[in-house]
Amino acid sequence: MIQVILPAHLKNLARVSGPVSLEVKGVATVRSVLDAVEGAYPVLLGTLRDQSTKKRRAFVRFFADGRDFSLEADDFPLPEAVASGREPFLVIGAIAGG
């Protein structure tokens, strides 16, 4: 099971308080993890990526195992530590003021 940590606003929307554990089909990639997140929590459709183009929203970043995967291809395999659930997949709202 992959562990996904959502930012506070999205935890509120999804009505979860901590990391969410998700079964990911096939190779763990950014795309397959986000597919699993949206499948389990349809309320998050459109909050992480555009609903039609699947393009990442500009102020959303994806970190895992000490690396930034935001700019990698959607099908780039995530590290084994993430795929096995030892390290979480973090969804981060970009830092901004105001």
């Binding site: 930012p7 606003h9 929307l13 992480l48 901004a96």
Partner: protein, 371 residues
């Protein structure tokens, strides 16, 4: 005794202010959706317990929230706003073609008769409609595909469809306003549209009297007389007596005819309110004095309403959707400021009191009058 429920959208959440008909003591509830921008909250005239809220951030996009119990609890509904067909282009700030891109919903206008039917005004400018309580939204694309669409251009605040007026007599007639395209009217329920901007003059345009391109900030009507429209334009306060087919200026003796909101008294169709702002480059009241101006003659002659409002060192703005009236016998008038105050007058504007003073910047104010 009657009650009022004031629905406030702010930069950092929604607030619900309630009082009995005296409008003297208030309960403040919120923030709902804390940290999110709430452009607009509005209740259904057909079922006052049904509320809709537009919730967005630049980070996580657009959500629409719905309450079936007057704002005690909320649940997200559909947030898919897809332009019909090939979106095409409008003009960018530099005059080049720019693809139509959905950014957010500025305004939600529930049907007068069906709580499940709501119209949504979007940025980039388009009109959407739901008939299933917000689960799904479809574009009324006859507006955007009106021949002038490629010539529309954003104002500094974005190219937003910010005003939707549903004619209370002719259910097929809808008025909308876009910054900076102007006003449009549909007489067939939103299928086809025509621009209604004759008489407007905007000096920032190459052709000041062009058919489209005017930065209309807000329009308003009285339900008993929907062919009479009032407009606060970028500059100029305007009036139409023929459902927008022609307009004439009624700025009269206002200290500035720049401003954002405009609204009409609940029981007096010729009594109109505006909040003059110094200029397009200085968005605060003239002389640091927050004054609502009221006409009782449908424009032209305006009086300053100042009792209870700050008359020195006040440099807030009042945004276009941040004024509303209730329908109690003594009409209540409400407005919110970018400084976080929400003011109420229980006597048609003669005197004012702040309901709250320290909210986040107020984007919108709506009022429900409840039994």
């Amino acid at each position: 005794m009657s009650q009022v429920r004031v629905l406030v959208g702010t930069k950092k959440g929604a607030f619900i202010l309630t009082s009995d008909g005296t409008r003297s003591r208030w309960k403040v509830d919120g923030p709902h959706f804390g940290g999110w921008e709430i452009y607009h909250v509005k209740g259904s005239p057909a079922d006052p317990s049904r509320l809709y809220a537009s919730q967005s951030t630049s980070w996580f996009g657009q959500m629409i929230q719905r309450s079936d119990d007057g704002g005690k609890s909320w649940a997200p509904v559909g947030n898919t706003f897809t332009y019909d067909g090939i979106a095409g282009t409008h003009q960018w700030y530099d005059g080049t073609p720019h693809p139509w891109e959905f950014k957010r919903v500025w305004h939600l206008e529930p049907s007068r008769t069906d709580p499940d039917t709501v119209y949504a005004g979007a940025e980039d400018a388009a009109l959407f409609k739901t008939s299933d309580g917000g689960k799904s939204w479809s574009e009324l694309s006859g507006l955007r595909k009106h021949g002038s669409g490629p010539r529309w251009q954003p104002g500094a605040g974005g190219m937003c469809l910010h005003t939707i007026l549903l004619d209370p007599v002719d259910e097929k007639r809808i008025f909308i306003a876009i910054s900076a395209a102007g006003c449009f009217r549909s007489d067939d329920g939103g299928g086809s549209w025509k621009p209604i901007n004759r008489g407007l003059r905007s000096e920032f345009m190459p052709d000041p009297t062009a058919e489209v391109g005017h930065c209309v900030h807000r329009i308003a009507l009285h339900p008993s007389r929907p062919q009479v429209l009032f407009m606060q334009k970028h500059w100029d306060v305007m009036r139409s007596d023929d459902a927008g087919d022609s307009w004439r200026e009624v700025s009269g003796n206002l200290p500035s005819d720049f401003g954002f909101p405009i609204d009409v008294h609940a029981h007096e169709p010729e009594t109109v309110y505006v909040v003059p702002i110094l200029s397009d480059s200085q968005h605060f009241p003239p002389d640091g004095r927050l004054r609502v101006y009221r006409t009782r003659t449908g424009g032209g002659e305006w009086e300053a309403l100042t009792k209870g409002l700050p008359q020195r060192n006040c440099f807030v703005n009042v945004l276009r959707d941040a004024m509303a009236v209730d329908s109690l016998d003594s009409c209540g008038v409400y407005f919110g400021t970018t400084g976080g105050q929400v003011y109420c007058s229980a006597d048609s504007g003669d005197t004012w009191k702040a309901i709250v003073r320290d909210l986040p910047p107020v984007y919108s104010v709506e009022v429900q009058t409840l039994p």
